[in-house]
Symmetry: C2
Subunit: 456 residues, 2 copies
């Protein structure tokens, strides 16, 4: 193990794990502090996750929502960005181990901000992932773009009506904001963008089904907005199934169990999973060493100052932290990252750790788009939907997008999509166009390698 | 085998293989003809190949240069776009076989336009491809983007000066337009875009080497422009090696042989291959059945009317055709596609096949960009370089880009890159960030599959 990049320094060492909203905000807030910041992340970019569904459905390019973290922090001379997957935190020796391409690096810290986020959860059925990719990373979005568009391409060539119907059925599992947005966008893609582009199939006959376990869509937003979103989706032809649990997923479809105990199999080639999240396994690592508790989603039940018991210099923020009343959204992560950075700065300036103010979350509201010109929003007790909510959504998301060029480019992409009914990012790779399932690929590749070995 | 999508029709059936400049132009030219056009291609997009290097180096998104072919032809009701890899042409029975995901489809034709293009050639050393990807497809460009940016990321973490130097050495093999453009862009990426973004390495110390077998860069453009391009590249810090043949490529570098017989090994993690092309293997299929000759690059030595002996209804155009004086560039393909379509139209209107005018190529000139604000151009006997050539390049490429939105988006991307020294498309996937070589992946995957089999 080695520790490159470390110019010996007496400055307070802050290590941040993760380049999402929590980690990036914390790094930026430390800009003027007399510290050495090392931000270690397993992607090279900061992902603006709320717009990931637009990458998956061909509205914007990955570059617009995932600029390189090191370019965002380029001018912050006290911060270094390092690519690597953190595999272990040693609370006793205050070090973080990360791995990149077979090399393991050990990085010491004085203060640590753990903001490694959450992945998709399949509730113990990880083998579903093969057939129903999640919606958490750029990789996921590009994979789904390939699968969605690939299904239409295959249907155009198929002469078997049963297979064609399976290829033109899209099931989105999970009725949260991402699920609602994906269902709406796949429907728009089929009805508008692809209309008239095929000769053998009619893409507007594509069938989009949104399956949600609860009794309404967008549960945290309350029944009124849930119903609004549902009505809008149904108007677009999306079939919404509530109180419906997915019990099995395979190559050709999935099985749904309803409240009355009945089950139904849906034949569908393309499935999207946005039903649950599971916090980074680094939470378990922290729990083992500090005794801190985790909730069911693997989130760390932090102290009121977002630290963990016995380690006031270790903060957990963002999707990894479990704090009552804080949703797993950008705002919670941003505020958590800011809070941790401010504590570090204050205490370097002489503040007493015993007098930390507890973290308090300010709810700026939440929103979800359903289709172009239609969204639902909840700000405090105010609930509204439709065009006004959509304009608010547009405005807020543009403001939060990182960088000037990105804003103009994204506005242009949206104008094209919303006004001209075109999408500028429908490109899929050759590998995707001819993709079989990963398992089939694995088997084929394994056979090839065996063959090579035998031949050599 | 089946033949879906075929509504029985008495109309003349034109099958076009390939969605590049040749195939797409032919399809469009047949818009008002009383024919059924089926365009079969192995990508879903039309690729504007001259700008592929900008995708590889993060200036533009893949969507900007690779719009779906079926959307370009959406309103042309007599044309159907089909995804599939053509595996066989049966000249006797006038059918084309194509494969998509294990299904084989047979499509009959009355007229056939073969425009399947060319791939990268490694001159019999196909195993080089593993370590030095070509620059022919969107897959190639995204792969190279990942390798180029990934090399900087790895170097930032490496404490070994030898490994760091290897990671920061980039070798481009082949001094044609693509090689010149790639070398220039990697240098600009390192010197401008990434400047100041690292703490442990200085990206401006990256070493870019351009290796060309001939005695000058851009051989077809003549010594004057070749020297101009070379001077400009050298000013940017690119090392140009002429009369240099690559004799071996492996994971860690490559071996170059010079005119005097001496050889030298260059340690370099990231290699780009743009040294040669090899026409689609469908040429061999045609040769076997018709006796038509192929040239060394596998191109079909077509008759003066671009057809093959004994099959006046089968045309070969674009990078697959060997016609004296026609370079393997967009213009040759566009003019070939147009010519073939016009013959089909004329003869459907009663023209006599015996009176076909031979194909004649109109040379509109050629150009290559070296860096921002600098290009070289040759139009007829006129040769010029520098800023004026660059403006001409900018203007021409914007005109040829397909679609209004794409033009504005691309202009915006270029403005950002050329004026603000930023690149909007530097995103790489997680898979790429942690990519080992494909061979390593294969071995790992094979082991995993073995493990799964053993466990089940």
């Amino acid at each position: 193990m080695s520790h490159p990049g470390a110019t010996p320094s007496d400055r307070h060492k802050v290590v941040i794990i993760g380049s999402g909203f929590g980690g990036l905000t914390a790094a930026k807030k430390l800009k003027r502090a007399d510290v050495d910041v090392k931000l270690i992340a397993k992607t090279t970019h900061h992902l603006f996750q709320p717009l990931l569904y637009q990458v998956a459905t061909g509205i914007i390019s990955e570059g617009e929502i995932a600029p390189p973290t090191r370019l965002i922090l380029r001018k912050q001379r006290n911060a270094q960005v390092l690519l690597g997957e953190v595999t272990h935190i040693d609370l006793e020796h205050q070090t973080v181990d990360s791995v990149l391409l077979g090399h393991t690096y050990r990085t010491p810290y004085d203060s640590l901000i753990v903001a490694a986020g959450a992945g998709q959860s399949y509730f113990g059925n990880d083998h579903f992932a093969e057939w129903a990719p999640g919606m958490k990373t750029i990789d996921d979005a590009l994979e789904l773009r390939g699968r969605i568009l690939g299904a239409f391409e295959q249907a155009e060539r198929s002469s078997d009506p049963v297979r064609r119907s399976k290829l033109l059925t899209f099931v989105v599992v999970g009725g949260g904001p991402t699920g609602v947005e994906m269902a709406g966008q796949i429907a728009e893609l089929a009805d508008d963008t692809l209309r008239g582009a095929f000769r053998h199939i009619d893409p507007t006959e594509a069938h989009v089904i949104l399956v949600e376990g609860a009794g309404q869509l967008l549960p945290p937003m309350g029944p009124k907005l849930g119903k609004k979103a549902q009505n809008r989706l149904e108007k677009m032809g999306v079939e919404v199934q509530l109180n419906a649990m997915v019990t099995d997923v395979d190559r050709n479809g999935l099985v749904v169990k309803y409240q009355d105990g009945s089950t139904k199999r849906i034949e569908a080639a393309c499935k999207v999973w946005s039903a649950g999240v599971s916090a980074s396994p680094l939470g378990r690592d922290l729990a083992k060493q500090s005794g801190v508790e985790l909730d069911r989603a693997g989130r760390v039940k932090v102290l009121p100052d977002l630290s963990i018991p016995g380690h006031p210099n270790v903060f957990v923020v963002g999707d990894m932290m479990a704090v009552d009343g804080v949703p797993g959204q950008a705002q919670g992560a941003i505020q958590g990252g800011k809070y941790a950075a401010n504590i570090i700065k204050a205490e370097l300036g002489g503040a007493d750790p015993a007098t930390r103010e507890p973290f308090s979350y300010f709810d700026k509201g939440s929103m979800a788009t359903v289709s172009k010109h239609s969204a639902v929003a909840k700000i405090g007790k105010l609930e509204f939907g439709g065009y006004i909510a959509w304009l608010a959504w547009l405005f807020l998301h543009l403001i939060y997008l990182v960088g000037f060029k990105t804003k103009i480019a994204t506005l242009l992409s949206w104008a094209t999509t919303f006004l001209a009914r075109q999408r500028g990012q429908l490109t899929i790779t050759e590998q995707q166009a001819f993709a079989r399932t990963r398992l089939e690929q694995l088997e084929e590749i394994a056979a090839a390698v065996e063959g090579e070995k035998a031949a050599s």
